[in-house]
């Protein structure tokens, strides 16, 4: 007849050895996510997003458009010409236009008012063509100027809170032939599409994840992707009709994700496979 304490001791040994075994297995198998993280680390050294940053910076200072003016007087929310820290506080409400704007819609406003471009015309241009590729380069440089800073979107104005609520509605809105919503993929831990881990966007997904990782350079197609293009492709993947460039729905989604990402460190421009 065994003593009760003997049984306890045996159990402890069994548990301990089981733990050791699982530790050993954990050390051997590298998860797919680790592999992708390693690949990204290797690519970071030569992130072609740098080329777009350089282009964006030059464009900001260059006199262009029908009015032959630079964008240096553009107010991104922190005063005319202030670029550093602007990205981590957008979308936000602008008194002059009377609406909440994200970085790209704000750039359209500045390009129209300062340089004399036709904003509606640019918004209709497909991504990567003409002035649209300039908007992407500008957004890349401006976002890159806030690298390492934490997201802290203002929610003081009623319109900003309305934009957040609107974004939340859009995020959970199910529709399309597959009855998808953003939340279908982005509201649970451990979800992925093929080999890509999906960030949970209903809360802060962590530093440099989700909203804090864009704009990013996509290695697979060699394109620079801004947040507007990222959202546009999310709509495509859901088989939704394409949203208008810089439309209220896309800005509201930006507000929702940006406010949720409060405190997350921006690593933009990032590099994606």
């Amino acid at each position: 007849m065994s003593h009760p304490s003997d049984a306890t001791a045996l159990k402890t040994i069994l548990i301990a050895s089981a733990m050791l075994a699982s530790l050993a297995a954990g050390a051997q198998t590298k998860s797919t996510a680790d592999g992708i993280a390693e690949y990204r680390k290797m690519l970071e050294d030569g992130n072609p997003a740098e080329l777009f940053e350089a282009k964006g910076e030059a464009l900001w200072k260059q006199r262009r458009g029908p009015k032959n003016a630079s964008l240096e007087q553009c107010d991104l929310g922190k005063g005319p010409g202030v670029v550093k820290g602007a990205w981590v506080e957008m979308p936000r409400h602008f008194a002059d236009t009377g609406r909440v704007q994200d970085l790209e819609s704000r750039l359209l406003t500045c390009m129209e008012t300062l340089q004399g471009f036709n904003a509606a015309e640019i918004a209709k241009t497909p991504f990567g063509r003409g002035e649209q590729s300039n908007v992407t380069a500008l957004a890349t440089w401006i976002a890159g100027s806030s690298r390492g800073m934490k997201f802290n979107l203002p929610q003081g104005h009623a319109e900003e809170r309305r934009s957040y609520e609107l974004g939340k509605r859009a995020f959970f809105f199910r529709g399309g032939p597959m009855d998808f919503s953003c939340a279908t993929c982005h509201s649970e831990e451990g979800k992925r599409i093929r080999l890509q881990d999906l960030p949970v966007l209903t809360k802060n997904p962590g530093d440099g994840l989700g909203f804090a990782a864009w704009p990013a350079y996509r290695v697979s197609n060699g394109e620079m992707w801004s947040m507007q293009l990222r959202l546009n492709d999310c709509f495509r993947q859901q088989r939704f009709p394409f949203p208008g460039f810089a439309s209220e729905a896309t800005i509201a989604l930006g507000s929702y994700m940006g406010v949720n990402a409060k405190g997350a460190v921006s690593i933009a421009p990032a590099i994606k496979r």
């Binding site: 050294d45 030569g46 072609p48 740098e50 080329l51 350089a54 282009k55 060699g222």
Partner: protein
């Protein structure tokens, strides 16, 4: 004219590590556009690296190199303040040359 390259050259021991990012479409000539027409091949063919005016590396590239290519190599004996020049010529004869100082 082609967009500028980004060149970084840093001393590491008795050599300098040079990292170059080039801005180029690098079309293979295998792709078709939305109208079904072949997109003509357009890629960097020759790459030359010079250290203080002396050629230290040449490379022949083809359509298999990615868009916006990244190139990294070491230059033995390069010191702080030395000049590194990278030049490329593509199959259309377009050229680009950029310089960086070793730091």
């Amino acid at each position: 004219m082609a967009d500028p390259m980004r060149i970084r050259a840093q001393v590491a021991g008795d050599k300098a590590t040079v990292r170059v990012l080039m801005s180029h479409e690098m079309e293979t000539g295998q792709r078709k556009d939305s109208a079904g027409k072949t997109i003509p091949a357009w890629f960097i063919q020759d790459v030359t690296a010079q250290h203080n005016g002396k050629t230290v590396m040449t490379a022949q590239w083809g359509p298999a190199v990615s868009k916006n290519p990244f190139l990294q190599f070491n230059v033995k004996g390069a010191k702080v303040g030395d000049k590194i020049t990278i030049s490329w010529v593509d199959n259309k004869g377009e050229k680009r040359s950029d310089e960086a100082v070793v730091s």
